[in-house]
């Protein structure tokens, strides 16, 4: 993280890379290098499949994910329930499919909150400096002093379990990383001539931040955030597994794995299939994230 921050963006920087890619389309250098990275391409395919599954979950699920069927209680995979049934005879396949939607919704919410809040805090701290900077960075330091999951559990204990709790707890844990990166990027850009020129011509600070600085720093921040998606999904699943995350009747992969552990000996399908879905999804996001980082970090690129 600090490596990106301390590294002064070279040339047009990361955003330039992304824009050039968009302009030149399929023949651009970035796209060619991306396609050569087999791991990143497999990651992108997995992410695309999971996203499509989440978007079209109601249409894809063969059955109602909430409907209870006493004849399918702990049923093994059959023609009716392709992946079997859970303790209430609900269709596991349908619940795994809808579970993708819950996972991604939480991840996107956390991403949106941490990107907005973390970037804002980091920009304010980096641009204004002084006591504002000290105050914001102290808060960041304090949050970093807690192991992530333990802070999330603390929040869950106070707020009570639920989807909102998970989103708030994970946002609280994630924004400091974004803020630190943003601050270091702002520090490296604010001594540029165009910023001085903007100040000299009487541009107000919020306009300098949004119109002049933000476009230059937004790309690495987004890349950094997207690398974290896999870990946000993992954290949500962990909280749901522990029972302090998203609650029934909403299906979550973490909760389903826990529900299945009870009967792992005789009916392992619930745990195993939801573990598979969760594991493959996070692998996909991490492969894609690693690929993006390798391509956009000029230090690694030259090797």
């Amino acid at each position: 993280m600090t490596a990106i921050g301390q590294e002064r963006p070279r040339g047009r920087g990361h955003l330039g890379d992304l824009l050039a890619w968009l302009r030149r389309g399929a023949k651009s250098d970035f796209w060619l290098r991306f396609r050569r990275n087999r791991n990143a391409v497999s990651g992108a395919i997995i992410v695309a499949l999971v996203t499509l599954t989440a978007v079209f979950a109601p249409a894809l699920a063969p059955r109602d994910f909430e409907s209870i069927n006493m004849l399918a209680v702990w049923s093994p995979p059959t023609g009716d329930n392709l992946l079997g049934g859970d303790a209430l005879g609900r269709d596991i396949l349908s619940r795994v499919i809808v579970g993708a939607r819950v996972s991604l919704l939480v991840a996107i919410s956390v991403l949106a909150i941490t990107l907005t809040f973390g970037t804002a805090m980091g920009m304010i701290a980096g641009y204004f400096g002084g006591w504002t900077d000290t105050l914001i960075m102290r808060v960041v330091d304090i949050i970093f002093a807690f192991p992530e999951l333990i802070l999330a559990i603390l929040v869950a204990a106070v707020m009570g379990p639920g989807k909102l709790t998970v989103i708030i707890a994970l946002s609280l844990v994630w924004w400091p990383g974004i803020a630190r990166l943003t601050r270091s990027l702002v520090l490296s850009w604010k001594s540029e001539l165009f910023v001085d020129a903007a100040i000299a011509s009487g541009t107000r600070p919020h306009r300098i931040l949004i119109r002049h600085l933000l476009p230059n720093i937004v790309a690495p921040i987004i890349v950094r955030a997207s690398i974290g998606v896999g870990f946000i999904i993992m954290a949500e699943a962990t909280l749901s597994f522990l029972g302090i995350g998203v609650q029934e009747p909403e299906p979550t992969w973490g909760g389903m794995i826990r529900d299945g552990l009870v009967s792992l000996r005789t009916e392992p399908y619930l745990s195993l299939f939801s573990s598979l879905a969760l594991g493959i999804t996070i692998i996909g996001f991490n492969l894609l994230g690693d690929g993006m980082r390798d391509l956009l970090d000029p230090r690694i690129r030259d090797r």
Partner: protein
């Protein structure tokens, strides 16, 4: 260095103080009146209620409660449990006090050497099929959550092959699966980092010099290259330890191990907030302590690092 160490130690004080304040505030904001829950069917008894409130110190002003809370922490007194009437928190948690750190340290002693070996192996075979395969395994090791891995491994080794017990705590066999599962993510993480560092180091001038003077390959690798990858690896031990401590929450819950991690989760559900907060505090203090030690060791081991100003 001495000055830096002193400054770092004192830098911990405000952080830990704020952790104490946070847990105290959290205790105030949790839903429900613990005394009424403790009274349960005897809730009509005003004498008993008053006595319990006095025992728990809840009848005193908030500030006074806070001072008592802080004074208590210095002597290992975290107040009384809400779940077990009039039982001190410390008596509830002391049986499991060492289990989580022992699990974490056991996992770490597997993860560090194994991770370095795997990472070096991949780096020396850069861009070959073996390298790609190792990288894929490492991504899987980092990505698959420990409880998903536990589901598979318990099913395979405890139920199908029946070589280890499903759960429990006390024997060596019972510890095998939990420690192995805990060790997987840090092993993958360390391997990935040491691969990157190794590739970086192998391009340095002193490696070329060592090769040029005719040193054999394995001497170059192990004496010159590997040593220099260990220093940046050391800085990540703190992060890894944080992950391991969090991992114990899940692993202890799955394998029914009576450590602080599973106790914290149980007390969240039992609304035994003093126990939850005490465990959060202990883990935070432990985590900060490890990070402090790692920081100081870093300065001792790498002669290029000089502490001064704000460069730390």
């Amino acid at each position: 260095m001495g000055l830096y160490a002193i400054r770092r130690v004192f830098g911990l004080v405000p952080v830990l103080f704020i952790a104490v304040v946070l847990t105290f505030i959290a205790n105030q904001f949790v839903p429900g009146d613990p005394i009424l829950i403790l009274l349960s069917d005897q809730s009509g008894d005003p004498v008993l209620e008053a006595r319990l409130r006095a025992d728990y110190g809840l009848d005193r002003p908030l500030f006074e409660q806070f001072v008592t809370y802080i004074q208590g922490i210095f002597t290992g007194d975290f107040g009384l449990s809400f779940r077990f009437a009039n039982v001190p928190v410390i008596d509830v948690i002391k049986t499991g006090l060492l289990i989580s750190p022992v699990l974490a340290i056991a996992a770490l002693t597997i993860a560090v050497p194994l991770g370095i070996v795997l990472g070096t192996f991949a780096a020396l075979r850069r861009d070959t099929l073996a390298d790609t395969a190792v990288i894929l395994v490492l991504v899987a090791g980092i990505s698959i959550p420990n409880f998903a891995m536990a589901a598979f491994l318990v099913f395979l080794f405890a139920i199908k092959l029946n070589v280890v017990p499903v759960a429990g705590w006390g024997s060596f066999q019972q510890a095998v699966l939990p420690v192995v599962i805990l060790a997987v993510p840090p092993t993958a993480y360390i391997a990935r980092l040491s691969r990157t560092y190794m590739l970086e180091v192998l391009q340095q001038d002193y490696i070329r010099t060592a090769r040029a003077k005719g040193l054999r390959d394995h001497l170059v690798t192990y004496r010159h290259a590997l040593r220099n990858t260990l220093v940046p690896l050391l800085t990540t031990i703190g992060i890894i330890f944080g992950g391991l401590l969090s991992g114990t929450f899940v692993i202890e819950t799955i394998f029914n191990i009576p450590g602080l991690g599973s106790m914290a989760i149980q007390s969240v559900f039992a609304r035994d907030y003093p126990v939850t907060m005490a465990i959060v505090l202990l883990f935070t203090a432990f985590y900060s302590g490890i990070n402090l030690v790692v920081d100081l060791l870093y300065g001792l081991i790498d002669p290029r690092i000089r502490f001064g100003g704000d460069a730390a």
